[in-house]
């Protein structure tokens, strides 16, 4: 494992970690200063005003509004600087950049199952390239877990029934701890692993070296067919009795209750396991639930497939992105239309 050159601080290996450390040092500086100040004054008073004569009675004091105001307002202002700084970094770390490469993570008692968009699967290890933005889309098959990479200063719970995300950009190659940080039962402290950050060319080599697996989008397409989704949504997601899925991801969807909602990961997941929760305008409640028929991993693969169903335009939306994204996976969308149709 990598260690840090600053004592008592874990290795700092992401674009975020330096920013969190800076705030941490600011907090440490301010709080240690005030703790020492308060203790210093306290000790000084305790020694200086020790009882010298068992019968002495000091003069009572009257308090002071001025002092009270001063020592309420000054700490408040200092606290607000901490709040603003912490909130600003938090805001940044909570919004994954749109061009990040996705990696799918599923927590399960007591292991982390990871799949890259290119198909590689890993258990309790996550290989990532240095200098590229990675977005983890995370779910769990059982209880709440928490994906924690101390060297990147990030963590997030993975919650049953939801997707949560984390994003980072590694800055230093190395092997770092990966912990489950939310108590998840018997072998909680064994739900650990490592994150391996690699130079981009090493990473590309690693990818090509270990790949013989299907990409999640292709696997998702097969599940889409075996579960019979195609009978209503069309083999290529073009829509029939059910709404079209091409291009739906990240778009606004109009619901039959007059509202509209952004079709994000959570919405798509819910549409599969609990389709009646939100009905698309113009469609009846005819879709059966697939709760219990698909595992979390399969759901994520279907999700990857749906994401890959982009409207075909000459200049792909991904042109600006330096890295492959799900829809950029070569075999995904075109393959969808060329596969033989399965009956309804």
């Amino acid at each position: 494992m990598q260690t840090s050159w600053i004592p008592f601080v874990p290795p700092s290996a992401s674009t975020l970690s330096g920013k969190v450390d800076a705030l941490y040092f600011y907090l440490s500086g301010v709080t240690i200063f005030f703790t020492l100040l308060i203790s210093g004054v306290l000790i000084f008073f305790v020694i200086k005003y020790r009882r010298r004569n068992p019968y002495e009675i000091p003069r009572p004091v009257a308090g002071s509004i001025k002092l009270e105001t001063l020592w309420s307002v000054i700490p408040f202002i200092i606290a607000m600087t901490m709040f603003a700084w912490g909130a600003q970094i938090f805001f940044e770390q909570s919004r994954p950049p749109s061009n990040a490469v996705e990696v799918y993570v599923v927590g399960k008692q007591w292991m982390w199952k990871i799949q890259h968009t290119t198909g590689q699967r890993e258990i309790n290890e996550l290989h990532v390239p240095v200098g590229r933005r990675i977005k983890l889309v995370m779910g769990t098959e059982d209880v709440i877990h928490d994906f924690f990479i101390p060297a990147f200063r990030i963590k997030a719970d993975v919650v049953p029934g939801r997707y949560t995300t984390l994003w980072f950009e590694a800055t230093k190659a190395g092997r770092y701890h990966l912990f489950c940080a939310e108590y998840c039962g018997m072998n909680h402290s064994g739900m650990i692993g490592s994150v391996v950050a690699m130079e981009p060319k090493d990473f590309d080599e690693w990818l090509s070296g270990s790949s013989s697996q299907q990409s999640p989008a292709v696997a998702g397409q097969q599940i889409y067919e075996t579960l019979g989704c195609a009978s209503c949504h069309g083999p290529a997601g073009e829509g029939r009795r059910g709404p079209a899925l091409v291009g739906v991801f990240a778009k606004q969807v109009f619901l039959n209750n007059g509202q509209s909602i952004k079709a994000d990961e959570a919405y798509i997941r819910e549409s599969i396991v609990n389709p009646q929760a939100k009905l698309v305008a113009g469609f009846g409640p005819i879709m059966p639930t697939f709760q219990g028929q698909v595992s979390e991993e399969q759901l994520m693969q279907i999700l990857a497939f749906i994401k890959s169903l982009q409207v075909q335009t000459p200049g792909p939306v991904m042109a600006a992105s330096p890295v492959p994204t799900p829809s950029g996976v070569p075999s995904a969308a075109p393959a969808a239309s060329s596969t033989p149709r399965t009956g309804p």
């Binding site: 494992m1 260690t3 008592f8 601080v9 874990p10 969190v20 941490y24 907090l27 308060i38 004054v41 008073f45 305790v46 010298r52 068992p54 019968y55 002495e56 009675i57 000091p58 003069r59 009572p60 004091v61 308090g63 002092l67 009270e68 020592w71 700490p75 606290a79 607000m80 901490m82 709040f83 700084w85 909130a87 970094i89 938090f90 805001f91 909570s94 059982d142 209880v143 709440i144 928490d146 101390p150 060297a151 990030i154 963590k155 719970d157 049953p160 029934g161 939801r162 949560t164 912990f179 940080a181 939310e182 108590y183 998840c184 039962g185 018997m186 909680h188 402290s189 609990n274 219990g292």
Partner: protein, 552 residues
Amino acid sequence: METFVPPVPSRINYINAQYGLKSWLLTKDHKRIALLYLGSISFFFFIGGLYAMAIRLELLTPQADLLQSTTYNKVFTQHGIIMVFFFLIPSIPATLGNFLVPMMIGAKDLAFPRINLLSWYIYMLGGIVTIYALLAGGVDTGWTFYTPFSTTFSNSYVVATGLGIFINGFSSILTGLNFIVTIHTMRAPGMTWFRLPLFIWAHYATSLIMILGTPVIAITILLLAFERVAHIGIFDPAVGGDPVLFQHLFWFYSHPAVYIMVLPGMGIISELIANFSRKNIFGYSFVAFSSLAIAVFGFLVWGHHLFVASQSVYAGMIFSFLSFAVAIPSAIKVFNWTATLYKASISYDTPMLYALGFIGLFTIGGMTGLFLAALAVDVHLSDTYFVVAHFHYIMVGGTLLAYLGGLHYWWPKITGRMYPEGWGRFSALVVFIGFNLTFLPQFILGYMGMPRRYHVYPAEFQVLHVLSTAGASILGVGLLIPLFYLMWSMRYGKVAPGNPWHLPGLEWRTQSPPPTENFDYTPVVTWEAYEFAPPEETEVVGKFHDKVPEKA
């Protein structure tokens, strides 16, 4: 060894007024009920302490050697449950509060003596149910009972333990109710609101939280039990529930509950600081109202336990802001206590040593709360040893030290005997050193990334864990010493006079131990809180003019 002085038989007090087990088990005297509580919470504290030692011993090495996963998980869970629900929450209010709230306001008893006894029985029933659950097989969900682990996956005695906590909650509610009614209606003539000792204000604020907050945890536990037994779909997403809803409900009570634990401690510290420096508290009304502010605003910050639990970014920001805001009233108290010492006459008696220790440790606990309230830093620190250290600084460094300080301070009143001062000071020092050695390394461990609730951990964390275990052993010794000398003093200690510290508070204006009725006649209060004798009356320290003093 001091010679045994038999109690003067002619002096009837609440202890020798009646004899026999029945006279204790059916008593309506708040002082006797306080002693019943004292015995029972000490028992629970001892059990919780044994679990703590087991945890620290296991963590000496990075492997699982003393305890395997299943056992370790039960041990830390049961440590937490016993310490939080059966020691910390009742500790100060049910013992010292019970004993002193009526005495400090000049009343004969609490407003509802029978309900007071009932609350002890409820506490014991809750305790017995919980102990049964522990003996039957124990529980492994963490004291936080997060769903869906607790509802669907855990194979341990979740419902039975929950039932124990549920029952115990009613004892809190009744105690709170009793205090509020007593403080409103039973103050002695002349005891106006702003003449109340700050201990009373703190208990008033605490009682508000007990009454408003405890029903929420009761409902939460019921829902948890329904879900576990019948899977009705409240918390389980597979049947349409929401597991994070549980966390909201749990912390809606449990954040305010941390103030149930610490506010009475703050009340004790205000007493100790004023009385052992013979100075009225600087900014009395600010200290009093900051307790109420904490009680009210403490209900608005529960979301700071959910910063990484998939709560929305904006909710996170609001809760972060409010958490920083609620830190201010605590800071105000620390500043006022410190200012009180200016030009005071400070004694170094054991209770004061505990009070000074409290201020130092509580300051560290509060300051590290700021790290956790700062969103981006909490993302890294959440669920690590930093959090463990933070709340132990508050709950052990704060509440426990205040409790011990208060216990020593009022020991002569409660038992009629002095504790041995030398041993008292010595053990206060040992506790302080042991405590810091135990928990300071855990802040560092936390920032380095050591997750909590791990008994197998990467080897690079071992040095700090060994330091922590060493500290815990010192702390353990520091806590055993008072256990022995306090019991010894009940029989062999110097007989205490009515007012051994020469203080103005009402509880000192009656014999030690007090008679069943507390006072021989109803006191009439004509002085302000913490009004020590004026300088010209040097020979009558602790006595007062019985006329209204002119305001400075």
